[in-house]
Symmetry: C2
Subunit: 336 residues, 2 copies
Amino acid sequence: MARATIADVARRAGVSKGLVSLALNDRPGVSAETRTRIQRIAEDMDWRPNPAARGLSAGRAFALGLVVHRERHTVEVDPFFASFIAGVEEALSQDNRVLVLSVVTDADTEAETYRRLSKDRRVDGFLLTDFLTDDHRVALLRELDTPAVILGDPAENIPFPVVSRDYARGVESLLAHLAELGHRRIAHVTGDLQMQHASRRRDHFLTHCRALGLEALIAEADFSPERGAQATVELLDGDHRPTAIVYANDPMAIAGIAVAHERGLNLPADLSVAGMDGSDIGRYTYPSLTTLNNDPAGWGRQAAAVLLELIEQGEAADAALPGADLIIRGSTGAPA
Amino acid sequence: MARATIADVARRAGVSKGLVSLALNDRPGVSAETRTRIQRIAEDMDWRPNPAARGLSAGRAFALGLVVHRERHTVEVDPFFASFIAGVEEALSQDNRVLVLSVVTDADTEAETYRRLSKDRRVDGFLLTDFLTDDHRVALLRELDTPAVILGDPAENIPFPVVSRDYARGVESLLAHLAELGHRRIAHVTGDLQMQHASRRRDHFLTHCRALGLEALIAEADFSPERGAQATVELLDGDHRPTAIVYANDPMAIAGIAVAHERGLNLPADLSVAGMDGSDIGRYTYPSLTTLNNDPAGWGRQAAAVLLELIEQGEAADAALPGADLIIRGSTGAPA
DNA sequence: TTGAAAGCGATACCAA
DNA sequence: TTGGTATCGCTTTCAA
């Protein structure tokens, strides 16, 4: 019942442990014949390398780390992570690696967690989500000398590979769609602008509004439905009331729809609303939510692949996912 | 820069490695004086045990496993896990353990993942969420001889400790609330009835409807907004149209609200709606969602604590979380 | 109470 | 191409 060790395999094959190691790791220095024989025996014995032993010897963990930092009140509303992790999984399990996940609710614990996982060699590298405009984790991970891959589109030059996804075109399609419907004054409720993808989205919004000759309003929020609702109230009460509001994510858009309904507005006639997450729940709101599609599993797969390459090869190229596309549903229409 | 090893500590303390090990693990056989001296030196050198070495020697991983099985289309809508994991974290980090998370989208991969994590000793035990009425994982984990803790309230006698939370009282409060408002015919849209907490909730619903003299309708769904919407359509189209619908989770309730709005119903006058998740987004729908509260972080903390005790002590008692309470918001009112 | 040494299961180097 | 052996950092056993 106890798992076979490399010594068992060696004994049964009548060779040394070292040779078995070479054979099973596809490394040169073993005759083809011996290699296949050893491999067959190992398979036969259902041998699998012990990660602890391997890790101790090789100084590696065969694990990737993901540290998610969420404020307590924001922690639950994230349609992104489950699919993202499922995507990561696809890249890892073949290779017998695992994902170590930590969810922390304050910045000190966050830094400490990166330190601990890295110094204890619990992971070989990190996936960096929710990248900030001036992200302290870059310096931290350089100090720790730990590989990482960044999800996003940093402005600065970063010493880590980046996996990005173009939102410019998606935002442009969305604004063109609204313009075509007849909207002229459009608002954007931002995410937490410390986050790089939030500020990017705002920039895209402003750029393409200008290009399309639209009047642009900005209301700052932080991705939480609470702040999204609050920003909506401000916009609807303001002097320059927009006919359409584009939210940086879907939960805020859903909260915005609620605020509009509460005021007796008819959607989309009195107000058009759009999100940017492509979340599934947006298909089942009323009206259903126009949004940009998303591919969390794709993010996960790609990010994990790049990180693994960085860990294995010492370097890895940036990668880009297919850009965001517009999903038109019921929440956008011609203004009354 | 390289981390201090136990040998470094031993050298500096002028004792043997074995003694250091005893001292730092709070085990008997070291004089109090020597122990504190060693501990001070270790702290001074910022020594931390290497998990790989420890794991290899002790045959343990110092990690807990969580395998989440979700269908592709359900994978994103879960307000539960982020907070849950944050709670688990609180119980783990002090002790220098980690959580290994896997998200899988089919049953074969699920079983294989449990096998792999257990046999490779990547984890010392599992947290079993979404427990099924007749859960195949029980047999699997017995076969693997791996500790586990169950979240839920299994009917059968299970060879693992259980962390449970009473929903009977919450469901009762909810139904009493509706009865008091004047509702007489109330429907319940169920979760996936294979899941033990879904069937429990249905049972509570039926029991307390009977006790309160309410007419009860059941529409079967699976926790997904899609099926929740579909069930709502059926209920509203049926001959015995209810004046209130209680959904087994909040995402389905949100989808139900959308269906009602689409038909021009006024909520709550034409239809009262309630969820059972206490999700944050439910505060920002229109109308805001009456629901039962939840404590995912509490689940995580408690489940991790019980599992750690089981791993350390070889046995652990069941635990119960404080019961669910009713949160009355705008989506329930007197029928017109 | 303490020290010395033998594992745990792999990798890696040096000889043969 | 192969075998033998040291090594990774810790725990544990056996003597002293």
